[in-house]
């Protein structure tokens, strides 16, 4: 029987009343009334934890509710506030619903049709390639794109435009972690899983405010600690006392930029007190220095002599003394299982790769790896930085399936899989993110496609790069769901479908790929990126009169865009390009992923295996299928990763290295930046949810009470932060958070007065090319007392 909507509401109303007084009404049951919503399973749109959610869609096809997926092994049904509310932007009136175009960036936008928009984009990119060469074109994507989208865009750039200028915002957040994993373990991405949290006895949190940036994962850490108060020890190392520090047994507060010394000092103590695992080292490790020159353990020990706890305490300052360092080393080394977690505090450093190496060193030395409760785990900021960008070939130096582009054999594998002539993919890596935007500045890049991210707010020293993006001779396409600081500098703005308005896979921090199917229609003319890219490439091939260019999208052209098209892309990627690679995803088909509440962890070579959930711990025979199939001896662990031909873990000699810009008499304070729980990145989404905007309406600068007293600053006073690059002004929070001599600003705000990335330094790690967002030198002054401010998003 079908009910009209009014009848249905009446029925619900009556049943609700009846349930209060225990009355049974004839006809429908209460359960039927509650089924007003259809629940669609998918991943959360924000952060890298990979929480699974259920989106409640009403009979009109509108998303009206959201709840956690209790069967998910990432979040067990729990959600954070951002996650609980992200769906509410789907119907926001600011959504981009029509393609917008302007010839000159001085002109206002006008609405155009998709036909016109795609023609313009094709013409401009083809012209740039013809007139200025392939490397005058570039793609700048996002760790929030679906894997299908990243994979398809990089395929088009490499096949049709023949450039490796493929980058994305993950360069800004996890490139150093990639460098760390490859150089220490020979393989990217964590060995273990979140499940190690509940099995650990010691958790080492460094350079991460997990409580705000990854709250649902932090819940697991907190729960484990509260349930085992005496047995489980938490060490939190950070120059800032944050919400995360509240559960710590030991808080190591060090001067910004002295983290490498601290990590070396912990290693020193582990060796000095003979807390290392001799057998593990003998079986699985070698020692390296410089560019991977092999040395012995004596040389390593020798290198640590500058980092005795006493010497290091003097370097680190803060609350650190020799005994605290020793206590941390003992907790870590002697626990039954130690897990380390870190995030941007380690990665966004001038020597972020080294800092990663030094954390891995602690795990290799003590054998705290490859077993339950022990792991060295880099948290990821975005939902698909791992799955899409790291695995799908979304960076200038890598092809899909963790293949370095410079390797001819691996390049040929990709060319064969794509059915294009060998030699078609350029052998030289493209421009990494900072170089790409330098080339925008110089005018070397003429056509740039920015997808699902806002570099005009998120790049360090952003004003410098906004100048380049504003150039009239640089054609910029931006595909996104809302107006941003970046759409302000674009010629062509393409409205895209949001999460749950299209289908595709996100791969979270723990190597877990999870499918989200379309549940809601996108508003207006917004379209999935895979459709946009496919149609664009077809026109591009036409413009270039190049049949090989068309090959990039030929298998996907004309397919139904909601599911069939992304599925065909996913199938090509997984079946052709992850085969026999360490991220083997052949078993994780849409059919399998659709059945799983929480997806599949790679390697997962077969469907039958994928249906078990995949590989919880890599490299372990009996757990990881590749550890058996790739085994070269009878040891239980097989480090088969592509990076280390000796199949060993490498303990690195890495010296202390401070920030690129240290304070001096003119610029006496450290400036650090970070996140708050209520916002996500540039606030283009969370800034449009009143609850979240209210909770943190604008950026604040946190100032230690001692510094505040020295500068005559009271709570909520307006404070100017000045660096060599410029000034911003925001209200002060006077709080025992940042260490004395450091101010800490929230980076989300897109208001011109408060956009902190205008003053952050754009130096970067020479290995990973990841910028040092976390530290630069500044000075502050009180501008005025509290002022009434208005929350702001670009509209």
């Amino acid at each position: 029987m079908s009910l009209s909507r009014r009848d249905f509401i009446k029925r619900s109303a009556a049943l609700t009343a009846a349930s209060y007084i225990g009355m049974t009404l004839p006809g429908a049951t209460t359960a039927q009334a509650a089924e007003e919503l259809t629940w669609h399973r998918g991943s959360c749109r924000l952060c890298g934890v990979g929480c699974r959610v259920q989106l409640g869609v009403n009979v009109k096809g509108v998303a009206v509710a959201l709840r956690g997926e209790p069967k998910s092994r990432t979040n067990f049904g729990y959600l954070c506030m951002k996650g609980m509310m992200f769906y509410r932007i789907m119907a926001h009136p600011d959504r981009l619903t029509k393609p917008l175009y302007r010839e000159s960036k001085q002109q206002p936008f006008r609405e155009i049709s998709w036909d016109e928009a795609l023609d313009i984009a094709a013409r401009k990119f083809a012209a740039a390639k013809r007139e200025h060469g392939p490397d005058s074109t570039a793609y700048y994507g996002s760790g929030q794109c679906l894997t299908e989208e990243t994979y398809l865009f990089q395929k088009i750039m490499r096949t049709a435009l023949q450039t490796n200028n493929v980058e994305g915002n993950p360069r800004l957040c996890m490139a150093s972690a990639v460098g760390g994993y490859l150089s220490s373990f020979g393989a990217d991405e964590p060995i273990g899983s979140y499940a190690n949290i509940e099995k650990s006895s010691c958790i080492f949190l460094i350079g991460s405010n997990m409580a705000e940036a990854h709250p649902v994962l932090f819940r697991r850490v907190m729960r484990h600690k509260l349930d085992n108060r005496d047995r489980v020890k938490i060490i939190n190392a950070d120059p800032r006392f944050s919400a995360t520090s509240r559960i710590a047994d030991l808080h190591l507060q060090f001067k910004p930029g002295t983290d490498l010394a601290l990590l070396n000092a912990i290693a020193y103590t582990i060796i000095d007190e003979k807390l290392f695992d001799q057998q593990f080292l003998a079986d699985y490790a070698t020692f390296r220095q410089g560019k991977a020159e092999q040395v012995d353990m004596t040389a390593y020990w020798q290198s640590l002599q500058d980092y005795s706890p006493e010497k290091t305490a003097a370097i680190c300052g803060g609350n650190i003394d020799a005994e605290k360092i020793r206590a941390a080393a003992r907790m870590f080394a002697t626990s039954k299982g130690s897990v380390s977690f870190w995030c941007m505090g380690i990665n966004q450093r001038k020597r972020g790769v080294w800092a990663n190496n030094l954390i891995h060193n602690l795990h290799i030395l003590t054998g705290q790896l490859c077993r339950e409760g022990a792991d060295s785990f880099s948290l990821t900021g975005q939902p698909n930085a791992c799955g899409g960008v790291r695995e799908g070939g979304g960076l200038c130096h890598i092809l899909p399936g963790h293949r370095p582009v410079a390797n001819e054999k691996l390049r040929n594998q990709v060319e064969d899989a794509w059915g294009i002539p060998r030699g078609r993919i350029a052998p030289k890596p493209g421009a990494h993110t900072m170089k790409m935007f330098q080339q925008v500045n110089s005018g070397a890049i003429k056509a740039l496609w920015i997808n699902c991210t806002s570099p005009a707010q998120s790049l360090p020293n952003v004003d410098l790069y906004r100048q380049g993006m504003a150039r009239e001779d640089v054609f910029i396409v931006t595909s996104d769901i809302f107006p941003t600081r970046t759409t302000e500098l674009s010629n062509l703005v393409l409205p895209t479908a949001f999460h749950f308005e299209k289908s595709g896979v996100y791969g979270c921090s723990e190597r877990r790929s999870q499918l989200t199917l379309k549940a809601v229609e996108p508003p207006g003319d917004a379209r999935p990126e895979t459709w946009i890219a496919t149609e664009w490439c077809a026109r591009l091939a036409d413009q270039l009169q190049d049949p090989v260019a068309l090959q990039a999208v030929k298998p996907f052209l004309g397919k139904e865009m909601a599911v069939a098209q992304p599925q065909a892309i996913w199938d090509e990627y997984t079946q052709q390009l992850t085969k026999h690679r360490d991220n083997d995803l052949r078993g994780a088909t849409y059919q399998v992923l659709g059945q799983m509440a929480d997806g599949v962890q790679w390697p997962a070579p077969t469907e039958a295996y994928a249906l078990t959930g995949g590989t919880g711990i890599k490299f372990v025979k009996g757990i990881d299928p590749l550890a058996s199939s790739e085994a070269k001896d009878d040891k239980p662990y097989q480090f088969y990763g592509p990076g280390h031909p000796d199949r060993k873990l490498w303990v690195w000699i890495r010296p202390q290295a401070g920030a690129d810009e240290e304070p001096d008499s003119n610029w006496p304070l450290y400036l650090s930046t970070g996140r708050v729980i209520d916002h996500w990145h540039t606030t283009s989404m969370t800034g449009r949810i009143p609850e979240l905007m209210r909770a943190n309406p604008y950026s604040f600068v946190e100032i230690n009470p001692r510094d505040a007293r020295q500068y005559g600053i009271s709570p909520n006073d307006m404070v100017e932060i000045e660096t060599r690059r410029g000034k911003v002004t925001m209200p002060a929070k006077v709080v025992e958070g940042p260490i004395v001599g450091t101010v800490f600003a929230y980076w989300h705000d897109m208001h011109e007065d408060r956009m902190i990335n205008k003053v952050v330094k754009d130096s970067f790690d020479p290995g990973s090319k990841e910028p040092e967002f976390k530290i630069c030198a500044c000075r502050i002054r009180r501008v005025s007392g509290p002022q009434a401010l208005t929350p702001f998003v670009v509209s």
């Binding site: 009014r6 509401i9 009446k10 619900s12 109303a13 009556a14 609700t16 009343a17 009846a18 209060y20 007084i21 009355m23 009404l25 800034g687 449009r688 009143p690 905007m693 208005t790 929350p791 702001f792 998003v793 670009v794 509209s795």
Partner: protein, 103 residues
């Protein structure tokens, strides 16, 4: 066009008669009555004002001890308010200052 449900507590003397009195208005539906003299009513009114009138009338009927609202769905009205077509008559005592625009 709001829809609301109520729990009505009746004098046990002659509940059926009271129910018949309730149903004089076509907008009022009675969905059930139990032995304890409690009834489930649903009102499907043309406006909030009409809903209020009906509820007031029901409360004043002889034999009605209490009328407790339980559920209200006013999605049509809310949609009209959101679109600017309808200006609600009521205010909940916010200061006259308008909330800060989010842009």
């Amino acid at each position: 066009m709001p829809i609301a449900s109520f729990i009505m507590t009746l004098d046990r003397h002659d509940p059926e008669q009271i129910i018949r009195n309730c149903q004089c208005d076509s907008e009022v539906e009675v969905h059930g009555l139990d032995d304890a003299g409690q009834a489930v009513l649903v009102i499907d009114a043309t406006s909030s004002r009409r809903l209020e009138e009906l509820a007031t009338r029901l409360q004043q009927l002889d034999g009605v001890l209490s009328l407790v609202p339980v559920y209200l769905n006013a999605e049509d009205e809310i949609a009209r308010i959101e679109s600017g077509e309808l200006r609600p008559e009521f205010s909940f005592g916010r200061k006259s200052e308008k909330p800060a625009p989010l842009s």
